[in-house]
Amino acid sequence: MAILQSETSASTSPAASPVIEVRGVTKKFKRFTALDNITLTIPRSSVGLLGANGAGKTTLIRTLLGLVKPNTGSATVVGYDTQTQGTKVREHVGYMPEADALPLSTTAADFVGHMAEMSGLPTRQARQRAADVHYQVGLSEERYRLIKGFSTGMRQRVKLAQAIVHDPELVFLDEPTAGMDPQGREDMLELVERIYGNLGIAVVFSSHILEDIERVCDYVVILDEGKLVTAQPLGQMETVRGEIVVQIDGNAVAFANELRRQGIAVRSGDVEMGRDEMIVEDDEDRVYDLIRDLAVEQQASLRTLRSRSRTLEDIYLGDVGAAREASDVTR
């Protein structure tokens, strides 16, 4: 038996052109502005689309699929214009909707094969691809069963299978972990990681769960009330305006007080609780020197001295809060 081994290692592939380019897109539904002058360039990557319910995530995806016509602006997806080449866009892009969207009285193999044909694959190749993709999502044995007998997790896998069966360049996953139990969610996140990491298919992962985005994405786009809050690599976000975690063997309270006396902000809640970890604000070049000198002065051993990254939650709450305040001021 011949074994196909052509998985792409995304980490080693050369940086390619942007997979999505959005230029000044505004979409209004009657009086409600779902997307407000969004301009955005998304690299070929695993991208998290983050925002609360109603932030405009699904409208942005539908616009990028060429299903919603923006009032102003334009967008290009995998090199095709979404308004004039919508069919071409959808031929090269996959979509996994959030809601249940499967014909229950059909077998998974039939439906996924049909979806491959719906993306233009010839019948024979479509069947073969359906079998391969079912294997990839872990439904190899169950694919000849009617979908109505599937669990929520299995149905999500079928939805994922139909989204990648035609080997798209990009796949939109709209809340793929919604309604899943912890094990199912874990399995789904692993699959999503594999789609970009091993299969080399760019992913736009829409979710309001920060943990999921942090886990599988290396680029994040945050939307709030139809506006773009930020769009940047997750790694880059982690290094901005960081803080230092300090742990010492010695009198932590005295250590923290001395730092404060020197004008350095220290969060000392844990110290007062009897734990010796302190978070020191890293906004001056002299902070590391001060900590070192103080440790020598107090004869305390430094157990931990590392920069504390801002979590996605910090970024989300901070940036979205700032964006809302700015919006309130202009009103």
């Binding site: 081994q5 909707p97 969207a101 039939d110 044909e117 719906m118 233009g120 080997d167």
Partner: protein, 302 residues
């Protein structure tokens, strides 16, 4: 990269092997919108017929096909015994199976469109390589082709059967070849009109049962109103237009014009030409498609 791992590594006494099948990117041809359209037509027809579904979904189509075949076999059988009895007329056969075709459409059309709405499969379809109106057109083609398996295929078999029972079948085929295109025209028009109207009605609800009930009851009520009104108001000339509400009579009239072998009071009373009935049928199909397109046109939901 590909290699034959089992050939190289299988050793005596080993009964199984675990290997990673990997993932192969698709590099073959992509046929685009044309293939998507074809697939949607085929998939819709298979689902409506209950193919690759549970056995219960196949019962009704099988019953309806059997009901259409039995009169055909009887008519051809009687023609064999008594060739001059004129029993196996096309108009008689179409009159017999018209109700069966109507029930078939009432069952199939909701299966084709209501289920996609109810199971919310539409976003998946519209995210593929088709335009919205391709979806509508594919469904119209699917229901028309499927209905033709009842409105046209048995009638063609009747034509073949009638020629085969003749003393000289080949000569009979040559002599009666003109009947064949009439059979095809009648079967196609019946399928296109009933199928499109069935889809149009079904597009207003996502509940199959509601659509089936509306189609069947609407069909019976319109026919009843038309027949009773035409009888009661026969002194008024305009009452002849009421025949257009009665689909069995419209198709009986077309059949009568094509084969001249029917005695129908309503058709005689209306006394319209074939062009009027065909024009009316065409208008119904166009109206049905336009309404379907309107139902599936993109809407901005707030």
């Amino acid at each position: 990269m590909s290699h034959d791992s089992t050939a190289e590594t299988a050793a005596p006494g080993r009964y199984g092997e675990v290997f990673d099948r990997g993932y192969a990117h698709y590099t073959g041809e992509r046929l685009g919108r044309r293939q998507a359209f074809r697939s949607l037509v085929g998939f819709s027809m298979k689902r409506a017929m209950g193919i690759r579904k549970s056995w219960s979904a196949k019962i009704l189509p099988i019953l309806l096909y059997t009901s259409a075949i039995i009169p055909l076999v009887v008519m051809i059988g009687i023609s064999t015994i008594a060739p001059d009895a004129g029993f196996a007329s096309y108009s008689t056969y179409m009159g017999i199976i018209f109700l069966i075709v109507g029930i078939f459409v009432a069952m199939s059309a909701p299966e084709m469109v209501c289920v996609d709405r109810r199971e919310r499969t539409l976003p998946l379809y519209f995210s593929r390589a088709i335009a919205r109106f391709d979806y509508v057109n594919a469904k119209v083609v699917a229901i028309t082709l499927l209905t033709m398996t009842l409105s046209l295929v048995p009638a063609v078999l009747l034509w073949i059967g009638r020629q085969l029972v003749d003393n000289s079948p080949l000569q009979a085929m040559r002599d009666n070849f003109g009947d064949l295109w009439r059979v095809l025209l009648l079967g196609f028009v019946t399928a296109a009109v009933l199928g499109t109207l069935g889809l149009m009605v079904s597009s207003f609800t996502d509940r199959k049962g509601v659509a089936i009930t509306i189609i069947l009851i609407g069909f019976l009520i319109l026919t009843g109103i038309a027949n009773v009104s035409m009888e009661l108001l026969d002194e008024y000339d305009w009452s002849r237009y009421l025949i257009l509400l009665s689909f069995p009579d419209v198709f009986a009239a077309i059949s009568d014009h094509l084969f001249d072998d029917l005695d129908n009071v309503a058709v005689d009373q209306a006394d319209f030409s074939l062009a009027v009935y065909l024009g009316y049928s065409l208008a119904l199909v166009i109206a049905g498609i336009l309404i379907l397109r309107w139902r599936y046109s993109p809407r901005d939901e707030s």
